[in-house]
């Protein structure tokens, strides 16, 4: 398995270089270094001299991809692309165009993102599975029909509505928790209750329907029929036999999103003033801070590759029939 993991990591390198080139090209098709300088320097009293000065200070005064005037290898290395990209592979993200260290910012913002995303995932998973099992338990009844209608309604509502509605009811009318904010350590709990609750609730419709499908597929299998024939009750059959066997697709589905939890949720973080990584990326795009955009896209790609690798590994752990080679 170790050989497989090493091989997968090696495969990741060209993928990451490709992603980096793509980000670079897309960004610089839209923006020139002059545009970036103007964005950072503001609107008042911006002269060409000030722009040239900014470019020089931030390393944007060399060609983008190929430096004709340079000698030998410097034709490639003395370019914006090379100079801004090589550090990424060592996870040295450098300084943002507004002057802050990106690595330090990411470190600081990853935890708040995780503080909301992880409980949302775990509680959401438990809630989805519990409700899905209930629905399967009552299949063919009015309760199942009602549950499914409710799920479709829940799925049809925009997440923005849940956020605004949740804030209005829970924080404004009932006054149970602060409407927004964040704090360090355990003091953060009162701030994350509402976003987690809303995150769980808004994902309930689709989650329940998805897990219900998995469970229904499982309950029709022969071993379940055998279990019933042995005299087990429907509840015992579901919890002892159906649930463990349905865990394989559930687990692999969860593992793939685990690394992405660090990336945060844009809308949720923005509405609840949670200083996470989701809003960091969007702010960078809006302010055309290429250094942050590039770092976040790279980080996202790395995490995605890790997520896929973890999924493959988790298959071998939960299903002994699978072997990685």
């Amino acid at each position: 398995m170790i050989n497989y993991i090493i091989r997968r990591f090696l495969y990741a390198i060209p993928i990451l270089i490709g992603v980096n080139i793509l980000t670079f090209v897309l960004f610089f098709i839209i923006n020139s270094p002059d545009d970036m300088a103007r964005m950072q320097l503001g609107q008042k009293h911006v002269t060409q001299q000030a722009i040239d000065n900014w470019k020089q200070q931030h390393g944007y005064d060399v060609p983008l991809l190929w430096n004709e005037k340079a000698q030998a290898a410097e034709k490639l290395t003395n370019t914006i692309f090379y100079q801004k990209s090589v550090g990424l592979f060592l996870f040295r993200f450098g300084t943002s165009d507004s002057g802050r260290n990106i690595g330090a910012d990411i470190k600081e913002r990853a935890l708040p993102s995780l503080a909301v995303a992880l409980p949302t995932l775990i509680i959401g998973l438990i809630a989805d599975i519990c409700v899905a099992l209930m629905v399967v338990l009552f299949r063919g009844s009015k309760l199942e029909l009602g549950g499914m209608i409710l799920c479709v309604i829940l799925m049809s509502v925009s997440s923005l509505f849940y956020i605004i509605g949740g804030q209005f009811v829970i924080a404004k009318v009932l006054r149970w928790v602060p409407i927004s904010g964040y704090d360090d350590g355990f003091a953060a709990v009162k701030f994350i209750i509402l976003p987690v609750l809303i995150g769980v609730f808004s994902g309930l419709g689709s989650g329940v329907r998805w897990y219900r499908t998995l469970f229904l597929e499982e309950v029709e299998k022969d071993y379940v029929r055998t279990a019933r024939a042995k005299g087990l009750t429907e509840t015992q059959t579901l919890f002892r036999h159906v649930l463990p066997n349905a865990m394989i697709p559930i687990l692999t589905g969860v593992v793939v999103v685990l690394p992405m939890l660090f990336m945060g949720s844009l809308i949720m973080e923005s509405f609840f003033s949670i200083p996470g990584l989701g809003s960091y990326t969007i702010d960078a795009i809006n302010s055309q801070d290429f250094a942050i955009v590039r770092a976040m896209v790279f980080l996202g790609s790395v995490l995605y590759v890790i997520g896929l690798l973890l999924t493959d590994i988790s298959y071998t752990l939960v299903d002994p029939r699978v072997r990685l080679s």
Partner: protein, 708 residues
């Protein structure tokens, strides 16, 4: 037994929590303290006084850094007074031979102007690690090693701080910082034209690190003694006084750059751009622009007292109750990042933010118009919320590119076309529909509050307005139609194409929210039979069009740097033309008569003669109509009754030190407004029990059936 234990545990938990304010976002220990709670929606990019140039940056640094002069908090019109200076500067004019001239010297003889500034002795910097000294008088943290830096994460990680007296050299050092190319000060290019030796200094030090410029002389700035310095500027530029009240000219100890330039600190985001060092009323004790920024009272703040004079009504409003008392009154200011308007507004209504602006989606909840004037709604009055309004010293204008073949140029035909459009675009309607009445339609280049602005009949734009019923009234659309006919576009028909004249409106807005406004603009020009095509693009492309003169009609704004007409009229000065000179004259307007008057007016002190020149310039611009004067925004700010000494000042930013809180009233009101409602919990519990009961009984009945 377990149920009993759970009940006891739950009861204990409830008693441990303060259930009276479960929604309180602040720790319990902050209750009753003189802490002001504010919000910010965009993190400041820079806190270095040489770079910061935005309102959201000034909100912080103006409380921390002290330039030699400041604006009087209460007096209007805006008036400069000494801050760290002992008196207003001694201004001396100098001729070509270096001889001093009298105060009334002819401007042609003035080659230099010297500003001699005396600062108060005994002013000390805030406690800061950059100034910490050991017993042997060496700086403790000026030679940090890698291990020391590794253990740090914020400035608070340093175990010692120090302070020292403010001296004249610190002001000089800051001006040198402005000139250093590595600082990238936004005013550096402009100051090259004014401060003697600024450009040469910039060239000389461009290869040196910031920390090495201290001993390199700049010809135009010299320390006369420990508490006195001189700035020499080219010619006469009276507006320079206003620059001396901006944080660009606040002092900076050289130790700051030596400290912050140590390798490794920037990787921890420990830079001068994020951890200021000043002499002001407050110091930045926590800087997490991703979440919260905290200002605390500077323990070394010098004696400054609350003003004892103001406008006549200030006494009645209680704004002079604290006259003569030492500043500041508030111990701590906590700024929390709130990007969305809904949570921000809710927190204000709950009493967790002490002041708020009004977003358009909550405007109707807060304000109602009775008899044309804005008043608070009963729900606001019930909470005793206060409203202050003031017209900003800004203008949002609709500009015509004077280089454009259709709307530009100086022919009578083009002028009449522009004038017709000026009448047709009904800015009163725009203010009413899109700004909830927050603004006044512009009558000229200057907003109210700027010297030269004239109220009443004499101040209206006679080309677009009539004076009726003691107020300006937009001319009838028939006048505009007649003008457009005279311009050669009868009923808006372009004689070349025999179809409706097509004009292009360039804008950076492209969101769906802006569509109603674009449709409104289209409708305004449809009144004249003109077809308006909206060319929405991103900010950079828009800037590019303006820079190259490819835009036709656009909307732009200007917020005053200082309250002087020069800071508005320069937007139309020919030598500032965007295409030709890369200046701020985006309309590329060039009128020799206007330029001549501008050159004369800009160097004059305020006087009846200057006022007359300003009126002449207004007349020329109104006549030529390179702009539709658009609107001057009106600021509506709300604050709670416990937030005292509030008086809107649209120019000054260092106003926190004057403000005071009645913390007892705030605590009481918060408790009254934030009692949680628990009854829905019972409802949810009952529903849950019902579903559980139904589910269990269904399972049991199914099990019974399958057994049978």
């Amino acid at each position: 037994m377990p149920l009993c234990k759970i009940t006891i545990l739950f009861a204990l938990l409830l008693t441990a929590c303060d259930v009276s304010q479960l929604n309180n976002p602040y720790p319990k220990d902050q209750d009753g303290q003189a802490i002001l709670y504010q919000s910010f929606d965009e993190r400041p990019k820079h806190l270095d006084p040489a770079i910061a140039y935005s309102e959201n940056e000034y909100a912080f640094i103006a409380q921390i850094y002290e330039p030699p002069f400041q604006y009087h908090y209460l007096k209007r019109p805006y008036q400069l007074i000494p801050l760290t200076a002992t008196k207003m500067p001694d201004i001396q004019y100098v001729n070509k031979q270096g001889e001093k001239l009298g105060a009334n010297a002819d401007i042609k003889d003035i080659v230099f102007t010297d500003y001699i500034i005396d600062i108060k002795p005994g002013i000390r910097y805030q406690p800061h690690p950059a100034l910490a000294k050991a017993a042997n008088n060496d700086y403790v943290f000026h030679h940090l090693n890698e291990n020391q830096i590794d253990t740090l994460s914020t400035l608070a990680g340093f175990n010692a701080t120090g302070s020292r007296e403010l001296i004249a050299e610190d002001y000089i050092y800051q001006i040198k910082r402005l000139a250093h190319p590595k600082t990238q000060s936004p005013i550096a290019e402009m100051m090259k034209n004014y401060i003697v030796g600024f450009g040469e200094f910039s060239e000389k030090v461009k290869q040196l690190p910031k920390s090495a410029i201290k001993d390199v002389p700049m010809a135009g700035v010299t320390a006369i003694n420990r508490y006195q310095y001189r700035i020499r500027i080219n010619g006469k530029y009276p507006q320079f006084m206003y620059w001396l009240a901006m944080t660009f000219f606040a002092p900076m100890p050289w130790e700051a750059d030596v400290f912050y330039d140590q390798p490794g600190l920037a990787d921890k985001n420990i830079t001068l751009d994020w951890y200021p060092i000043g002499t002001g009323a407050y110091l930045l004790s926590e800087n997490n622009p991703n979440r919260r920024m905290v200002l605390e009272k500077n323990p070394n703040f010098h004696l400054e007292t609350y003003p004892s004079e103001g406008e006549p009504e200030d006494k009645h409003l209680g704004l002079l109750n604290d006259a003569g008392k030492p500043l500041p009154f508030i111990d701590k200011v906590i700024f929390t990042l709130e990007k969305e308007t809904i949570p921000r507004w809710t927190k204000f209504l709950q009493g967790y933010l002490d002041a708020s602006g009004i977003a358009s989606d909550s405007f109707d909840q807060a304000i109602q118009f009775t008899g044309g004037s804005a008043e608070l709604t009963p729900s606001m009055l019930e909470k005793n919320i206060q409203l202050q309004t003031s017209v900003e010293t800004s203008i949002f204008y609709m500009g015509f590119n004077m280089l454009d073949a259709t709307v530009g140029g100086y022919t009578e035909q083009a002028r009449k076309l522009r004038l017709a459009i000026s009448i047709a675009v009904d800015y009163e309607e725009l203010i009413s529909i899109f700004r909830n009445g927050r603004g006044i339609a512009g009558q000229g280049v200057l907003p109210p509050g700027i010297y030269g602005y004239e109220e009443g009949k004499a101040g209206i734009n006679p080309y677009s307005y009539d004076w009726k019923d003691s107020k300006p009234q937009r001319k009838n659309i028939a006048v505009a139609r007649q003008l457009i006919k005279e311009a050669g576009y009868d009923n808006g028909i372009d004689p070349k194409t025999r179809e409706a004249l097509i004009l292009y409106f360039d804008t950076t807005s492209s969101s769906i929210d802006d569509r109603p406004m674009f449709n409104w603009y289209r409708k305004q020009l449809e009144k004249l039979g003109i077809k308006l095509v909206i060319r929405a693009t991103d900010y950079n492309r828009f800037q590019d069009k303006i820079r190259k003169g490819n835009a036709q009609i656009y909307v732009w704004g200007w917020n005053a740097d200082y309250p002087d007409p020069e800071n508005f009229f320069f937007l139309l000065y020919g030598r500032n033309s965007k295409v030709e000179f890369g200046g701020e004259n985006a309309s590329n307007y060039q009128n020799p008569a206007f330029d001549r008057l501008f050159e004369e007016m800009r160097n004059m002190d305020n006087s009846p003669q200057r006022f007359q020149l300003i009126q002449q310039m207004q007349e020329i611009v109104r006549h030529d109509s390179p702009w539709i004067f658009g609107l001057h925004p009106k600021q509506f700010s709300l604050f709670h009754s416990w937030f005292l000494n509030r008086k809107t000042h649209v120019i000054a930013n260092n106003t926190l030190k004057y403000q005071r809180l009645d913390t007892i009233a705030r605590t009481q009101q918060r408790q009254a407004w934030n009692r949680p409602n628990f009854w829905p919990l019972l409802l949810v519990g009952a529903l849950f029990m019902l579903i559980t009961f139904y589910a269990v009984s269904t399972v049991r009945s199914r099990a019974r059936k399958s057994l049978q």
